[in-house]
């Protein structure tokens, strides 16, 4: 494959301006992430220490193989909810290597509200287990949760994708033959008790771990029985008498060590084989991405330049380079894996939609995973385009995209507005992993456009009633709408609501995708036979 020839002037004014802007954006992101990961009220850290409990990230360090990467998912979940008091939704999930095995780790963060489960915690857990199911990833649970946050039970308990879905997913994983091991490091009450019970292997730490459907206070209230947590459902009860847990551990370190041994004995994965070659570092420095991403969502850039700083050797074989110019697609390699990349260079027209559909068929037939780099404001609108069948062509693109069997991976590089998000494999289209950049925005339409449109409607409505509004009054209507839209379309809001699997630093995209692709290959790629339709 040939190397992309870059046309970026890294010494130019634009580049430097963008770098300055993005450095600011990135440092804000890193600061937020660091705070979310580490800033805790002292009393919570003291409580952990008194309970002889390790901080969740220390537990992860004991669990994961040294010298290996860890792809953390949704680190900023719930960052805009619950007054910011539940960073990460009180859990740390990610994909890493344990005893040489690729696993998904789900770890309670008991330094946050004792690891309590808030609505978004449930969302994050369900999402993690969905990832495990879709990609057939073994799961290691490090459970240490105070249980559901009862005041919000209506959003935690009853619905299809609420708490029950966590256990349903665990059961389905088991049925699928995907192993799970749980290390009970704290009390697992009610729902929490099911996590180890539904895992194939359960390790429980003496003195700290507890498994009971009702905790001591509830038992006392219900039956009058006086019993300590340990007597009720501690290590010895469950490893010696009830058989609910399998391995007693003397300490957290011991328990995690045992979990590592258990993972080492999981059946070896049979990974799907796709085209792979020895990896090559990108030729262009990925940090140049900071000078390519504009400082304004309305400004355009060439997606090829982004691709060049993400793929092996910066090599890209462009498909239909002269047709459908607003969609760039072609083959490249990421960490050795051959992938089909689709990226936006403007709105989607008839030809770009059809080109995308054709290319996706090619990749699907040839077992080439798809990577979508979104920077899309939508499909083209207007009379001419409707006549040409823009809706129909958009439907072709969506139909093919939805129907491919190869794994899909999406990165929201910049804007992700309207149906463009759909065509380009947004959340609803089940990409195996979806990441966003901190500068990205997502909404049905741009905030400015939305604010203008809604304001216009309001003004027209009031005009019908005979009211005329002055500039300031119009601004007074428009600004709040704009601000609200902006807030809800920011990457931070999106990730807070778990509309993605995490904001990542642009330069980390290659690693994140490499790991994601590798993880996805634990599931088989079934292929429906069929020829390629040139639309």
């Amino acid at each position: 494959m040939e190397r992309i020839r870059s046309h970026i002037d890294t010494k130019g004014k634009t580049f430097k301006a963008y770098v300055e802007h993005n450095t600011q954006v990135l440092s804000e992101f890193h600061a937020k992430q660091k705070a979310s990961r580490f800033d805790r009220p002292q009393r919570d850290l003291d409580r952990l220490a008194k309970q002889n409990k390790l901080f969740v990230r220390d537990r992860l360090n004991l669990l994961l193989d040294p010298g290996t990467p860890f792809l953390e998912l949704s680190s900023l979940a719930a960052n805009q909810a619950y007054d910011g008091e539940v960073p990460g939704a009180a859990m740390v999930n990610g994909i890493g290597i344990v005893s040489g095995r690729e696993v998904l780790v789900m770890a309670s963060d008991s330094s946050v509200k004792g690891g309590a489960l808030y609505p978004l915690s449930v969302t994050k857990s369900v999402r993690a287990l969905d990832i495990a199911i879709e990609n057939r990833l073994p799961v290691v649970h490090l459970t240490d949760s105070a249980g559901a946050f009862l005041p919000m039970q209506a959003e935690i308990f009853p619905d299809k994708y609420d708490g029950g879905r966590v256990f349903r997913n665990q059961a389905i994983l088991s049925k699928m033959g995907v192993p799970q091991v749980a290390v009970v490091l704290g009390h697992g009450t009610a729902g929490g008790a099911y996590i180890p019970a539904l895992s194939d292997y359960a390790v429980i730490v003496r003195g700290a771990g507890g498994i009971f459907l009702g905790g001591p206070p509830l038992v006392k209230a219900a039956t009058g029985e006086d019993v300590t947590a340990d007597e009720l459902g501690g290590c010895d009860v469950h490893t010696q008498i009830s058989g609910t847990a399998d391995y007693p551990a003397e300490s957290e370190a011991d328990g995690i060590r045992q979990a590592r041994e258990i993972v080492a004995l999981f059946p070896k994965p049979e990974k799907s084989v796709i085209d792979w070659e020895e990896p090559e570092e990108p030729f262009y420095d990925p940090s140049e991405l900071y000078g390519i991403i504009p400082d304004d969502i309305k400004k355009q850039f060439d997606m090829r330049e982004v691709i060049a700083r993400m793929v092996d050797g910066s090599r890209f074989h462009e498909y239909q380079p002269a047709y459908g110019a607003t969609l760039v697609c072609g083959y490249a390699r990421i960490w050795g894996y051959k992938v089909g990349i689709l990226g936006n260079n403007g709105v989607l027209f008839n030809d770009s939609a059809k080109k995308a559909a054709h290319f996706m068929q090619l990749c699907d037939r040839d077992r080439v995973p798809l990577v979508f780099l979104q920077n899309i404001t939508g499909f083209m609108i207007g009379k001419d385009y409707e006549r040409e069948g823009i809706t129909k062509d958009g439907a072709k693109m969506i139909m093919v995209q939805a129907g491919v069997d190869v794994p899909k991976f999406t990165v929201l590089v910049n804007g992700s507005f309207g149906a463009g998000n759909y065509g380009m494999a947004g959340r609803a289209w089940d990409p195996r992993f979806l990441f966003t950049w901190p500068n990205s925005q997502i909404s049905v339409m741009g905030a400015e456009q939305a604010a203008k449109t809604l304001t216009m409607l309001k003004v027209a409505q009031l005009a019908k009633q005979g009211k005329q509004l002055g500039k300031e009054e119009i601004a007074a209507i428009q600004t709040p709408i704009f601000e609200e839209y902006s807030r809800q379309s920011s990457a931070y809001y999106a990730t807070s609501e778990l509309w993605d699997d995490g904001i990542i630093d642009p330069v980390d995209t290659r690693n994140a995708l490499g790991i994601s692709i590798s993880a996805s290959l634990n599931a088989p790629i079934k292929r429906q036979p069929g020829g390629i339709m040139r639309f």
Binding site: D65, T68, P69, E72, G100, E102, A264, G336, D508
Partner: protein, 492 residues
């Protein structure tokens, strides 16, 4: 005299193998005897025939003169070579062999008796006017002994008359300690050798131990094959020897040679023997004792003279005639021997046991390795812990020293602790290179001879090697798959 066609070697280990080697060169058949522990030993395999000995103890097996004589008769051996140690200085055995009509490859029983008893040997030397360190003998009259020893002067050395190997020896620094130490030495000697006869001699402070190899025809003719320096000792045992002795004035050297020959002639010595002297810092030398057998360190003499001493022993036993006149013996170059012991040199030289898991012998020009063990040998507490002798030869002492250092580096012994590293540190020590050292060398340089602390780089390598050497109790995780392994330690 009868021709020797088959020799039984009443010994084991490296010396037995070395003797067999010469016998093979001479076209003489060999018979080995072995205790079960030595069944797989190289010497037992190298011999033409091998017969098992059973004894109360492994060492005891090799001391059964009667049984060994039986084996000799049964196998039709016409001579017995006793090696060193074991029965080599057992006059009764020598007599029995000759009485049985076999040839004892060694001196007459009479000579063995004479020189075997330290006191008779000293008396013999005194009577013949050979230089002796002032001494006194204790037999019955302890009071007289105590008085006589005072005349010797302090410090002095109390030795067991019937003993050797450092047992029953006590150093007395001053008069006040004398009585107590005499009592101690007497009881030790009684226990170890069955006789409490002691003698005391002046302790020449840190003397050099110089010995001379002699050959005698048994009829009063004798020649010398030069001296050996044997002053590198620990626990009164030699561990490095060299020939010729370095830093020795020719006058002294010649005087020592002459004295040794005179002693051998006076004793009408038959066969190969060694006359041992101690040389004081003042240049005075005194007769210490005569060993009526082949010595462990004989190879260094062989290297600089080109004479095969075992062949000489066989020849003299056969013909009763010396093959060489003194003028025939020429000395060329320099040889050094280092003894490999299974012991912990960093821990009081305590003997150790264990399997020889890896054993690599050094090779190369001027390198001779007399080993009695091979890879797989289980070094047990049953026998002397000497594993092998490394002998090097060079055109001069400097060349020999260089060879010694590199040969020691090329000697690999893993599985049981050995003194190889210690020997290397001695060989590399400037005081050794300078020559003129004495028996206090190891004590005097104790600090220098301790192993250097392990360097950081070395430590890293060692720990990595240990980790790679095999799985531990908790086996290491398998390697991470790609791309994880290449991505390495990364967090988003």
């Amino acid at each position: 005299m009868a021709k020797i066609t088959k020799v039984l070697i009443a010994n084991r280990g490296e010396i037995a193998l070395r003797i067999i080697r010469t016998l093979n060169n001479l076209g003489i058949a060999s018979v080995a005897v072995y205790h079960a522990l030595d069944a797989d030993a190289p010497y037992a395999e190298a011999a033409g025939e091998a017969v098992e000995l059973v004894g109360d103890t492994p060492v005891g097996a090799y001391l059964q003169g009667e049984r060994i004589l039986d084996v000799a008769r049964q196998t039709g051996a016409d001579a017995i070579h006793p090696g060193y140690g074991f029965l080599s200085e057992n006059a009764a055995f020598a007599e029995a062999v000759e009485k049985a009509g076999l040839i004892f490859i060694g001196p007459r029983a009479k000579t063995i008796r004479l020189m075997g008893d330290k006191i008779t040997a000293r008396t013999f030397a005194a009577e013949n006017g050979f230089p002796l360190a002032p001494s006194a003998t204790l037999e019955d009259d302890r009071t007289a002994f105590l008085k006589a020893t005072e005349e010797i002067g302090f410090p002095l050395l109390i030795k067991a008359s019937a003993g050797g190997g450092g047992k029953g020896m006590q150093i007395v620094e001053k008069a006040g300690e004398l009585e107590a130490k005499v009592a101690l030495a007497a009881s030790e000697a009684e226990r170890a050798f069955g006789s409490s006869t002691l003698y005391a001699e002046k302790l020449v402070e840190t003397p050099r131990h110089i010995e001379v190899q002699v050959l005698g025809d048994g009829k009063g003719e004798a020649i010398h094959l030069g001296e050996r320096e044997c002053s590198i000792q620990r626990r009164f045992q030699k561990i490095i020897e060299e020939a010729p002795a370095p830093a020795l004035p020719d006058e002294t050297r010649n005087a020592i040679h002459e004295t040794a020959v005179k002693i051998a002639k006076a004793a009408k010595y038959r066969g190969a023997g060694t006359v041992e002297f101690i040389l004081g810092g003042d240049g005075e030398f005194y007769f210490l004792e005569m060993n009526t057998r082949l010595q462990v360190e004989h190879p260094v003499t062989e290297m600089i003279t080109g004479v095969d001493l075992v062949a000489e022993q066989v020849s003299i036993a056969e013909t009763g005639v010396l093959n060489h006149a003194q003028d025939d013996i020429t000395f060329e170059g320099h040889a050094i021997e280092a003894r490999l012991y299974a012991e912990d040199a960093d821990n009081g030289f305590l003997p150790v046991t264990g399997p020889l898991l890896v054993f690599e012998e050094p090779e190369g020009p001027g390198v001779r390795f007399d080993g009695g063990v091979r890879e797989g040998t289980e070094v047990s507490a049953a026998f002397d812990p000497m594993l092998a002798k490394l002998i090097v030869y060079g055109a001069d002492r400097e060349a020999a020293l260089k060879r010694l250092v590199s040969a020691l580096e090329g000697t690999v012994c893993l599985g049981v602790t050995t003194n190889i590293d210690f020997l290397a540190r001695v060989a590399a020590h400037p005081a050794f290179a300078a020559g003129g050292y004495n028996t206090g060398f190891i004590a005097a340089h104790e600090g220098d001879l301790k192993p250097a602390p392990i360097g950081e780089d070395e430590l890293d390598i060692l720990l990595t090697l240990a980790a790679l050497s095999g799985k531990g109790p908790i086996d290491p995780p398998p390697a991470a798959p790609e791309p994880y392994a290449s991505i390495g330690e990364w967090r988003n």
